[in-house]
Symmetry: C2
Subunit: 234 residues, 2 copies
C-alpha cells in the first residue's frame, strides 16, 4: 500500500521552501512524527538537511539526515517516512546506488512507508531517470530507479515558448526523443503540480496541471484533480 507524494519543485516563484505544497505534505505525512531526509542530490548535505529540518519542524516533524551517523541503510530501514530532496538527479541516483540504498528504499516505500520526493527525488521514485532535466555531472551505473510507479515523471515541465529564438530542443521534443528509444509513459508536471499515489489510486494535485506523453500518441493535457490510476497498471 504505497503512499507517495511526488512534487515537481520544492519552491515556487515568489514563495518559500515547500510553501506551495504544505497542505499536501500535511496530508501525506498525517500522523508522522519523524522522517529521514535524503540529501544526496546536493553537495552540501548538512546545509540541505538543516533547511529541511527547519521547514518540517513547522509541521511538527523531526528530521534526521540519511547521511548523519554511519548507517544510512539502517536509518531508512527504521524510518517512519522519507523525504528525498531535489538537486542533481544523476548524483542522487549514483549515491543511492553506491550506498546500496535502492533496495531498502524501494521495499519500504512499496510496503507503505510514506515517500515524499521533490524534483530529483520525484524522478528517482519512477521507473528510470531517463527523463530528468538535469546535467549528467556523474555517471550512475544504471539509470533504472526505484520503480515505485511503472512510468516516468518529467518535473519542472515547461510548455514550448511561442516566439522563442533559442534553437535547443523544447521539453516536448526531448520527451518525444525519449519515446524513440523507450515505451515508458511520461507524466510531465508543471511547476506547482504534484502527484499523489495511494495504493492503486493516483491523482494529479497542486496547481497548473501536467501533460501525459505516451509513445505514438499526441500529448494529453491534464488538469488538477485528474485521476491517473490507469498509469499505475503499467
Amino acid at each position: 500500500m504505497r503512499r507517495l507524494l511526488l512534487i515537481s519543485n520544492s519552491t515556487l516563484h515568489g514563495g518559500g521552501y515547500l510553501d506551495h505544497c504544505e497542505d499536501e505534505l500535511r496530508d501525506v505525512l498525517a500522523g508522522v512524527g519523524s522522517l529521514v531526509f535524503v540529501p544526496y542530490a546536493l553537495v552540501d548535505r548538512d546545509a540541505y538537511t538543516a533547511s529541511a529540518r527547519e521547514r518540517l519542524a513547522r509541521l511538527g516533524i523531526d528530521v534526521r539526515g540519511a547521511h548523519e551517523g554511519d548507517d544510512p541503510r539502517g536509518a531508512l530501514e527504521a524510518a517512519e517516512a522519507v523525504f528525498v530532496g531535489g538537486g542533481n538527479t544523476f548524483r542522487l541516483l549514483d549515491r543511492l546506488q553506491r550506498l546500496e540504498l535502492v533496495d531498502v528504499l524501494r521495499r519500504r516505500a512499496l510496503g507503505g512507508m510514506p515517500y515524499v520526493g521533490s524534483s530529483a527525488g520525484s524522478n528517482v521514485a519512477c521507473r528510470s531517470i531517463h527523463t530528468t532535466n538535469d546535467m549528467p555531472i556523474v555517471h550512475p551505473r544504471s539509470l533504472d530507479a526505484l520503480a515505485l510507479v511503472p512510468f516516468n515523471l518529467n518535473p519542472h515541465y515547461l510548455d514550448p515558448e511561442p516566439g522563442s529564438t533559442h534553437m535547443g530542443e523544447t521539453r516536448e521534443q526531448r520527451i518525444v526523443q525519449f519515446h524513440e528509444e523507450h515505451a515508458t509513459p511520461v507524466l510531465a508536471l508543471r511547476e506547482g503540480a504534484c502527484l499523489r499515489v495511494d495504493g492503486d489510486r493516483a491523482e494529479l494535485r497542486g496547481t497548473r496541471g501536467g501533460r501525459l506523453f505516451r509513445r505514438g500518441e499526441p500529448p494529453r493535457e491534464l488538469e488538477t484533480g485528474a485521476r491517473l490510476d490507469e498509469l499505475l497498471r503499467g
Copy 2:
C-alpha cells in the same frame, strides 16, 4: 595536427541549416572534396544524411552517411573529413561506442583529418559529454568521449534570464554543479559561436561569444576572436 570546427548549433534562428557558419565550414574544409557524415544523434539517419548531403553539395562537397553500407569503421578509416551532426548526445555517444567507432574517429582526427561537429557532435569531440544539455534517453557505457581537446563544451549556452519565474537550475548553476564533481574546464558557446582548433591553436569564432568556466573561479566572458590555446594544454 588536429583541425577541428566545433559549432554550437547548426541552425541559427531565422537562417537555414548551416548558413550562419558557412564561411567557417569553407575554411576548415578547404580542399576537401568529400566527407563522411555521422548521423547517429538522430533516429532517422537517412533523412538526416540527405539534409547534410544537399547542404554540403552547395559547398562542392560530396557526402556519404557513416551508416550507408555495412562498414562504418572502414568508411571513417578512409574518410577525407568527417561531419558529426547534432541531435541527442547520449544516443550519439552510445552508437559510437556500440559500433566501435570511438577509437578510429579519435585517431583519424588527432592525425589531421578535418573534424566538424555541431551541437552533440561538438560535445562528443571533447573530453566527456558530462556537460551536454540533452535528456539521457539512453545510457552509454561511459560518458568519456573522443577527447580531441582536454576540456568540455557546453553548446547552446543560455545566459541566466533576468525576471524568469522558472525554478529549474540556470545553465550556469548546472555547470557549477559539474565542477562540484570534476575539474575539467567548460567552454560555453552561445548560439552562433564556434571553436576552431588547428594543432595547438584555438580560437573562438562566429557570433555572440562564450563563457569559460573553471572550477573555483568566476566565469570569464569571451568575445569572438578570443585565443584559447591555453585550454589545449589541459
